[in-house]
């Protein structure tokens, strides 16, 4: 009895994952149990390690297993270009496209007075510091076309004005939260067609 409860609980947990529903969760769990040695045990181990080690990069907000992420560690990515995104998912989408060679800065959201998110709740002070310490010459604002996204873009632009070149991704391209859904070609086109603010 106890075992079935755990399995049911596992299915219920899995069903809460984005992209999975109760039916696909059930199928996945059954599949894993049948491939216990090949899938389930290694997965459980990995999950334990990730649960222990996953953290936000102290510099950029990317998620990795070290205090400083691989991108921030990599000297070849110190190109003077910094791409500001709302969410880690956006960063990963850009990386998947593989066209951007600079570094990132993940804000962790957008300014929203109604949701009580101010500059201090986002990584905006840190962004200012990085522009100095990493000798940034161009900041690319890859923020959502939403009102909050644009308010945030205005805010950052205002703070950095005169210190760096400010650009944004080509208009008409859904960016920010939707970056994740774009194919590589579209992302690279938007990046190439970026324009000064």
């Amino acid at each position: 009895m106890r075992d079935t409860n755990d399995i049911e609980a596992l299915i219920a947990m899995m069903a809460r994952l984005p992209g999975l529903g109760p039916r696909s969760a059930r199928r996945a769990v059954l599949h894993m149990i049948r491939k216990r040695a090949l899938l389930l045990s290694p997965l459980a181990e990995l999950m334990t390690r990730v649960a222990r080690d996953a953290r936000e990069c102290l510099n950029c907000g990317n998620i990795g297993t070290q205090d400083i992420c691989e991108i921030c560690e990599d000297a070849r990515r110190a190109t003077g270009l910094l791409c500001v995104v709302e969410d880690v998912a956006d960063l990963w989408a850009m990386e998947r496209a593989g066209v951007f060679k600079g570094r990132y800065h993940v804000l962790g959201g957008t300014l929203s007075a109604l949701d009580q998110v101010g500059p201090e709740e986002l990584r905006i002070p840190k962004l200012q510091a990085r522009v100095e310490s990493e000798e940034i010459t161009e900041v690319i604002l890859a923020l959502n076309a939403t009102i909050d996204g644009q308010t945030t873009a205005h805010y950052i632009a205002d703070q950095l004005e005169g210190r760096v070149t400010l650009t944004s991704l080509a208009q008409g391209v859904p960016i920010g939260g939707e970056l994740d859904y774009l194919d590589e070609g579209t992302i690279s086109a938007a990046l190439n067609a970026r324009k000064a603010i």
Partner: protein
């Protein structure tokens, strides 16, 4: 091809359980007793333009009780751009989802395809009540010329809510204000310009037409202070107003404080001081002028919803209204309690009788009596 709905089906929408009707291009008359479901039906038609429809109700309110399952509207709409299948679904009180030719579409897209204007009994007091009602009336007219008006209004309102929150919380970060005000200025200036141009077009159409309805002089005013002309000016005005706004806890300058001032032109009397009948006639006159202007602008007259408009007009005014609607070629949807209110229309219109039944409103097509 003039704009019209050729087929309309309602499912679980207010008092309508399941209704399918087919129409030609002629005006549509819906008659039947009080509470039969006439206004509900034209409310469904009002949803073919962006927004919450003519009653400004929530999707939840529109769902048929007691089932409260959600509702569906499906319309075949003949537009200047061709035939479109437009449908709305609201599930369990959720806001309606729009589909155009089976593809999900944003509500704002409706504004490009379809134009709908309306007059309701509740607007009889429009000239004497608060500015909000007149502003809404003006924005409906404006939207009919500028589909982008909906988007600009949404942006402006959202940004203003953000700014008002900062004001309430006594936040003082000037860069934050500036970032929000930049967006308010851009959308706000757009709103103001749209309204001005819409009024110009309506007034022009009014001047050009010979009509039995009285002309109005119209002015776009502010309930208080001045409306800055242009984006840069509005931006500066918002910045300047910050201190005052902090004390008030809300934004005191901008297009959200606009008002429509109307004068009964022939007598030089403000609309608010005109007789009840005159006030109504002014509104009809504006809707007709708006419709006429759209023939040039949009390539078709709009769909016009006139809820119980006949009841308030004497026989000659009524005949004049019907003549003008027929001359326009607009698919006007008109409601009334009795058929006798529409005798002057004769076979120029198509008729549906609406009756109330336990299992839902019944809508029956009636052959014109001529």
């Amino acid at each position: 091809m003039p704009l019209r709905i050729s087929r309309l089906s309602l499912s679980h929408f207010r008092s309508h359980f399941n209704v399918v009707i087919e129409m030609d291009a002629r005006p549509v008359v819906l008659y039947g007793p009080n509470g039969a479901g006439k206004t509900n039906l034209i409310e469904a038609v009002s949803l073919f333009s962006p927004g919450r429809g003519m009653r400004r109700a929530s999707a939840q309110d529109m769902t048929r009780r007691p089932e409260a399952l959600g509702w569906k509207i499906d319309g075949l709409v003949q537009t200047p751009d061709g035939l479109q299948d437009i449908s709305f679904v609201s599930e369990q009180g959720q806001p309606r989802q729009v589909k155009i030719n089976d593809k999900p579409a944003p509500q704002t897209r409706l504004g490009e395809l379809v134009r709908v204007l309306w007059l309701l009994p509740s607007m009889d007091r429009l000239w004497i009540e608060g500015a909000e009602g007149r502003r809404r009336f003006l924005d409906r007219m404006t939207l009919s010329f500028f589909p982008g008006h909906a988007e600009a209004s949404l942006t402006y309102e959202k940004a203003m809510r953000e700014r008002n929150r900062l004001l309430k919380d006594q936040v003082r970060d000037p860069i934050w204000y500036k970032a929000i005000e930049a967006q308010m200025a851009k959308s706000g200036a757009q709103i103001h310009a749209n309204r001005q141009q819409a009024l110009e077009r309506i007034l022009l159409a009014q001047d050009m037409a010979s009509t039995h309805f009285p002309a109005a002089e119209l002015d776009l005013v502010q309930t208080e202070g001045e409306m800055p002309d242009g984006e840069t000016e509005l931006r500066a005005a918002l910045e300047e107003s910050r201190f005052r706004d902090l004390a008030a806890g809300r934004t005191l300058v901008g297009p959200h404080r606009a008002d429509l001032y109307g004068v009964f032109a022939a007598k030089g009397v403000p609309a608010s001081d005109s007789s009840t009948g005159e006030q109504k006639a002014l509104l009809i006159s504006l809707v007709l002028a708006n419709a006429r202007a759209l023939v040039d602008d949009f390539g078709s007259p709009p769909i016009v919803l006139l809820d119980e408009v006949a009841a308030h007009l004497d026989a000659s005014r009524r005949a004049a209204l019907y003549d003008e609607i027929c001359a326009l070629g607009a698919q006007a949807w008109m409601t009334g309690t009795g058929l006798e209110l529409f005798t002057e229309l004769g076979s120029r219109a198509q008729y549906f009788e609406v009756t109330d039944a336990a299992e839902g409103s019944i809508v029956t097509p009636i052959n014109a009596t001529g």
